[in-house]
């Protein structure tokens, strides 16, 4: 809460009531005949055409799935098929007024949405624009596959292109939009503003919000549509997204040029079922979905219900909502009533609904009903419409034949190129700034109070052999600040947000001083909504921006589990490299705050393919790694430690350089040379390991080499192996619970890669597999210097006269494993 806003007890304690506006339900009541004033007959016929193309596309997949044949084209497709048969009119109605600058994000059931949006863009774009897009997409590969196949116009060619590209993607072919690596639930086409669909229910809510944030912060045109189903409204991240998108600060605190509501439409294709669960009447309690808009903001999200079986009703609603959004009065919410005639998936036997119900919806099927309306209104002759329908069938037959033909549409060849996916896991680019415009700041860097304060600090922890005082030393948080501050003055797209980052300066004061130099839109407090924080960062980055988000404690990673593990990690590779993900996710490992605020979860994040994970333990590492993460284009989970923020650089000669420098992510840091044993550390354990090394040297004449693993993934083993081959002995220590600690992975690799050099198996020292007890009992839970000596004495080399402090015998190890502790 900023000081400019007064929390007035008098105001807050006053009696009164909250009033609501009425929420419109299916108020559109125009006939086609009436609408012929607003639409040309060609427009109306094109709406019908688009509905039939969508229908035929889904019918084709349905037949391939169920019968293995479509119009004589035989094919086996083992993948998912969440079809939207019955929902086509709603999709076409939505797309009608959207152009390529408007972004849509979808769900697992989004074939119709992406095709409708594509058909709308094809209609709106010039032939030249279309040709440019097709030529430039994947080097023209998809275009080469479809061109010269009897098309009469560029638009016809573009339609072939989009349907073929989508189907090849679904059929897992190399000519698919993303080499077939995304598939049915993740098909999208970025050049038309069609952004990823998502197999996680409601997954698009937070990501679309991030895309809207990108448009808002970077003054980009267009709106963003988050397409979800009614089932998704039960999910927390959806509510977090709506909360994030409706923050008062956009209207009340942000700088004049960015002030206003978020340009996002939460669009619910409400087919009344979340898989087989009936949302109205069984699994939810809103009765009418549009109602929820009233609970989110005073604007009630401009929510209304609209009849999705009437394409003209949806077009009408979309037109009005888009206007609201472009006027800066968003977000909006639409409850689009529709119905899926097909099952949730081909395995769905519709055990949860009656035949009568399905028949009742089939009876008003737009393919029939809208056709009748057009004929009745005199907009088209029935045989014309029949021809449109026949054309769609012929088109789909042609495309299906091409996409199922392995010669024309090969699979990616893992035998020939086993590393094809490997190369897509990270983009590994270095791009200093993602836009050339001048970064928006409130004052020159030199005037930033923090920059001034840091100038007077000592950049090495010791001066003339004595430790520099805590207040005088350039510390770990200064190091992070310096790298981040530098980047804010370089990359105009860089923004940062999280809990308490602005006035507070971040819970651990890393950002202190930035408030004075950055406008609100670049540094702002988010709601306590970890899913939205990370999910929006994913959307911001895939739209073209760079972002640092902070979750405060690493323990909150669980709150943003899907957004970190499924979204942040996977979109670069699922898009076959089309999307980049320059996101730095800062998390801090706590101490003193008990079981839910003290966990080192590097192992969890390192397990997920597609994330880079670092954990600097010294200021020199912190600054260099942050600079490296911020220059890169990959998602980096950046672990920090509350045990470390105050410390100065004790190891790097000359201290922390003032100028910008990078430490390559993957490197290791040789802290201390030694000959007899190697100690590898992650995080704050480094300092306890140094204590242990000192005792080994002084009491036992054993010279320890200490290497800190500031990078967890990727990790270059060269120096580790070099050291272990020299010493033959290695102990690994971190504050993570020992079971499934990442260190076990390192130990395994050392064992395999240096087996013949080992004098003992690598010994891993981790925290107990318990809850973290209160700080007073730290020494019973977290690895201590003595634990490292215990492990050496028991498992590697008995230390003469040493009295162990803990029991690390094999018997105890087995007992603990048996007990699960």
């Amino acid at each position: 809460m900023p000081k400019s806003q007064f929390v007035d007890p008098v105001e807050l304690r006053k009696a009164g009531k909250i009033t609501f506006e009425d929420i419109d339900v299916n108020v559109y009541n125009k006939t086609v005949k009436e609408e012929r004033k607003n639409y040309s007959d060609d427009d109306l016929k094109r709406i019908y055409r688009d509905i039939t193309i969508l229908r035929e596309f889904e019918s084709m997949i349905n037949q391939i799935k169920l019968q293995g044949v479509y119009n004589g084209v035989e094919h086996t497709y083992p993948g998912p098929a969440h079809l939207s048969i019955g929902q086509e009119a709603a999709a076409v109605g939505q797309a009608y007024n959207l152009d390529k600058n408007d972004f849509i994000f979808g769900s697992h059931r989004s074939h119709s949405e992406i095709l409708a949006k594509a058909l709308s863009c094809i209609e709106k774009l010039s032939d030249k624009e279309l040709m440019d897009i097709m030529e430039n997409f994947l080097g023209g590969k998809v275009l080469r596959a479809v061109e010269n196949n009897g098309q009469n116009s560029v638009k016809e060619l573009a339609i072939d292109f989009i349907i073929y590209g989508a189907l090849a993607e679904i059929f897992a072919r190399e000519n698919g939009f993303h080499l077939g690596l995304g598939g049915s639930m993740h098909a999208f086409f970025q050049p038309f503003g069609i952004y990823p669909n998502n197999a996680i229910v409601g997954g698009s809510g937070t990501i679309a919000t991030g895309a809207a944030l990108y448009k808002k912060v970077n003054n980009k045109s267009g709106i963003v549509v988050a397409n979800i189903g009614d089932g998704a409204l039960a999910r927390g991240p959806m509510w977090e997204a709506m909360t994030f998108a409706t923050m008062d600060q956009y209207r009340q605190l942000w700088e004049e040029s960015k002030r206003g509501g978020m340009p996002i439409l939460f669009n619910c294709f409400n087919n009344d079922y979340g898989m087989g669960g009936q949302t109205r009447g069984e699994t939810m309690g809103y009765n009418m979905l549009a109602r929820i808009g009233a609970g989110v903001s005073p604007t009630q999200l401009h929510a209304e219900r609209v009849d999705g079986y009437n394409p003209l009703a949806v077009i009408d609603a979309m037109k009005r909502k888009k206007e609201i959004l472009l006027n800066g009065d968003g977000p909006c919410f639409l409850d689009v009533v529709t119905y899926r005639v097909a099952g949730h998936s081909p395995s769905d036997s519709s055990s949860y609904r009656t035949k009568e119900e399905i028949e009742a919806w089939k009876a008003i099927d737009p393919v029939i009903k809208f056709r009748e309306d057009l004929v009745a209104a005199g907009a088209a002759k029935d045989d014309e419409l029949q021809k449109i329908l026949d054309n769609s069938t012929a088109l789909m037959t042609k495309i299906c034949k091409m996409a199922s033909d392995v010669e024309k549409s090969p699979y990616i060849d893992f035998d020939k190129d086993p590393a094809i996916v490997e190369r897509l896991m990270f983009s590994n680019e270095k791009i200093a700034k993602l836009d050339d415009r001048e970064p928006e700041v409130l004052a020159p860097k030199e005037e930033c109070p923090r920059v001034v304060q840091i100038k007077g600090k000592e950049r090495f922890a010791f001066k003339d052999g004595k430790p520099v005082s805590k207040l005088k030393v350039f510390n770990y948080r200064d190091a992070l600040f310096e790298a981040i501050c530098d980047k804010f003055y370089e990359d105009p797209t860089l923004i940062t947000y999280g809990e308490d980052v602005r006035d507070w300066g971040g819970a651990f004061a890393v950002y202190r001083g930035l408030t004075e130099v950055l406008p609100y839109s670049r540094l702002f407090n988010s709601p306590i909504a970890e899913s939205a924080i990370v999910g929006s960062a994913v959307g911001y980055a895939m739209s073209g921006g760079r972002v640092i988000v902070e979750l405060m404690y690493a323990d909150f990673i669980g709150c943003a589990g899907d957004e970190i593990f499924n979204q942040l990690a996977k979109w670069q590779s699922m898009s076959a490299g089309i999307l980049k993900m320059p996101v730095v996710l800062r998390v801090s490992v706590g101490s003193k705050y008990g079981a839910q605020h003290s966990q080192d979860w590097t192992s969890l994040t390192a397990h997920i393919p597609g994330l880079k994970v670092v954990f600097p333990a010294t200021p020199w590492e912190a600054k260099g790694l942050m600079a490296s993460a911020l220059n890169g284009t990959d998602p980096v989970v950046f672990f920090e430690s509350q045990r470390l923020y105050d410390i100065g650089e004790q190891f790097h000669e000359g201290g922390v350089p003032e100028e910008s420098y990078e430490i390559e992510i993957g490197d290791t840091n040789l802290i201390k040379k030694g000959d007899d044993i190697t100690i590898l550390t992650i995080g704050a354990t480094l300092y306890r390991a140094m204590d242990a090394a000192k005792q080994l040297e002084e009491k036992y004449g054993i010279s320890a080499e200490v290497i800190n693993l500031h990078s967890i993934c990727p990790l270059n083993y060269d120096k580790i192996l070099e050291s272990v081959k020299k010493t033959g002995k290695v102990v690994l220590a971190s504050d993570a619970c020992s079971r499934n600690s990442f260190l076990n992975d390192v130990a395994r690799n050392i064992t395999e890669l240096a087996f013949d050099y080992l004098d003992a198996p690598p010994a891993v020292v981790g925290a107990q597999n318990w809850i973290t007890p209160p700080f007073e009992f730290d020494k019973y839970f977290f690895p201590q210097d003595t634990w490292i000596l215990d492990a050496i004495n028991e498992k590697i080399m008995p230390l003469k006269g040493y009295v162990p402090t803990t029991n690390c015998t094999p018997v105890e190890q087995l007992r603990k494993a048996k007990m699960g502790v």
């Binding site: 033959g728 087996f755 013949d756 050099y757 080992l758 004098d759 003992a760 028991e794 498992k795 590697i796 080399m797 008995p798 003469k800 094999p810």
Partner: protein, 447 residues
């Protein structure tokens, strides 16, 4: 009544012999004259014949044991007889740990941290050993059964192998291989990285490619006894004497003609094949007495022992190393006798059957590297002798005869003297006289 079989004394200077191999085992019946075991001195190998008849009741020393001469090696008699009276002091108990006992002499001071004197135990049971320690043991030829595991739960770790190396407890590569093959069939590792995998066990070797890859860059081999002796005497020679070598050459036309003429009729006359070296030996035996300081021993660095007769040491290259048998009283023997004796001695030396007594007592030595094409070298004196003559190869030289250049064969001589015993000029006079005698060999023969 049981009786002992003694380790024979092969020559008056021999104090002990090493048993190389037992041919019989306890329980075998033997007759007088049956071969019991092979043994070696520092210069020769021999077989020991049984001097008793009966059953071998106990063997007191094993293969590789260093046994003092004239000590019972085994007991022969009738089964059940008490042999305790025959058992030499200290034998028997050490038999099991024999290789270690032999090596113990070289034991260095243990590292400071290991204060207690370690006993060597052989662990024939299961050995837990770290890969690093095993790799080191392989490289340094350490028998891991001797290692005492100081790691967790008795694991043999790198330090334990290092301890053994520091104490000199390594073996020859051959012995090491034997130990290894005794433990498990030697197999070539076909597993990843050349390791021996389960599938290799019991499998016949050999994949030469793999073997080539895993082979060591070099092989360490301990000196055999004879090499040790040579090394010791050579080092002593060069480090205690003031050696000086001078080179000369003589016209070999005369001795070559003489040898050629003898060769034609040698068989008819019953003469041995007289070589140029034999001729040099003869000439030296006749010239040396005119230079008594060279036919002498320097005792304690201050006493010259000049000999009345010439005992010529003749250096012989043998498969076991350098040996120097002696032609006693060479000055009294004819050229034919010297030639015959030199061949006989060389043969025995090469076969390793020469009596140690024949390897001592020389007053002067001749070493011939000329047959190997050496033009000049610095022979090393066998102490306490005062000189050694090196015989070099034949070279073609030219000289002026009546104003014309004439090619001739010259033979080089390299004399090393102990400058403490004799000065350069008198030594040079010996060479000069020797050359003159060789150039007019028929005259010398006539004397």
């Amino acid at each position: 009544m049981a009786a002992g079989v003694l380790m024979p004394k092969q020559g008056i200077t021999v104090e002990s012999c090493i048993i190389t191999k037992w041919y019989k085992q306890v329980g075998d019946s033997v007759k007088v004259g049956d071969l019991l075991f092979g043994y070696e001195t520092d210069k020769s190998t021999f077989d020991c014949e049984s001097t008793e008849e009966g059953e071998i009741l106990e063997i007191f020393y094993n293969d590789g044991d260093d046994v003092p001469v004239l000590v019972n090696v085994c007991a022969v008699g009738t089964k059940g007889e008490d042999v305790s009276a025959l058992r030499p002091d200290g034998a028997g108990a050490t038999a099991e740990a024999a290789p270690a006992a032999e090596e113990k002499k070289e034991e260095k001071a243990a590292p400071a941290v290991v204060e207690e004197k370690k006993e060597i135990k052989v662990n024939n049971g299961e050995i837990k050993i770290s890969p690093r320690a095993r790799a080191l043991a392989d490289k340094e030829h350490v028998d891991i059964r001797l290692a005492e595991g100081s790691g967790p739960y008795g694991r043999v770790v790198e330090k334990d192998i290092r301890d053994l190396i520091d104490r000199g407890l390594t073996s020859t590569s051959a012995a090491f291989d034997a130990v290894k093959s005794a433990d498990a069939a030697a197999v070539e590792g076909s597993a990843i990285g050349g390791r021996v995998g389960i599938s290799d066990l019991g499998k016949a070797p050999v994949n030469p490619l793999t073997a080539a890859v895993v082979e060591d860059e070099f092989v360490d081999e301990k000196f055999p006894q004879i090499r040790k002796t040579i090394a010791k005497s050579m080092t002593a020679s060069l480090s205690t004497m003031a050696q000086l070598t001078m080179n000369s050459a003589f016209d070999a036309t005369e001795i070559m003609n003489y040898r050629a003429s003898l060769k034609k009729s040698a068989e008819a006359l019953g003469l041995p094949n007289i070589t140029l070296n034999d001729i040099v030996l003869y000439a030296v035996s006749r010239t040396l007495l005119n230079h008594p300081d060279l036919n002498a021993h320097l005792i304690d660095g201050n006493t010259m022992r000049r000999f009345k007769h010439v005992h010529l040491g003749v250096a012989v290259d043998t498969p076991r190393g350098l040996m120097v048998p002696t032609i006693k009283y060479a000055n009294l023997k004819s050229l034919a006798q010297i030639s015959a004796e030199a061949k006989e001695l060389a043969k025995m030396a090469q076969e390793g059957t020469i009596s140690p007594d024949l390897l001592t007592g020389a007053t002067f030595t001749i070493s011939n590297l000329g047959s190997l094409g050496i033009e000049s070298f610095t022979p090393v004196i066998n102490p306490p002798q005062t000189g050694i003559l090196g015989v070099d190869t034949l070279m073609t030289r030219v000289k002026e005869v009546n104003g014309e250049l004439k090619a001739y064969k010259a033979m080089g001589l390299s004399l090393t003297i102990d400058h403490r015993a004799i000065d350069g000029a008198p030594a040079a006079r010996f060479v000069k006289e020797l050359c003159a005698n060789l150039e007019a060999f028929s005259v010398l023969l006539a004397k």
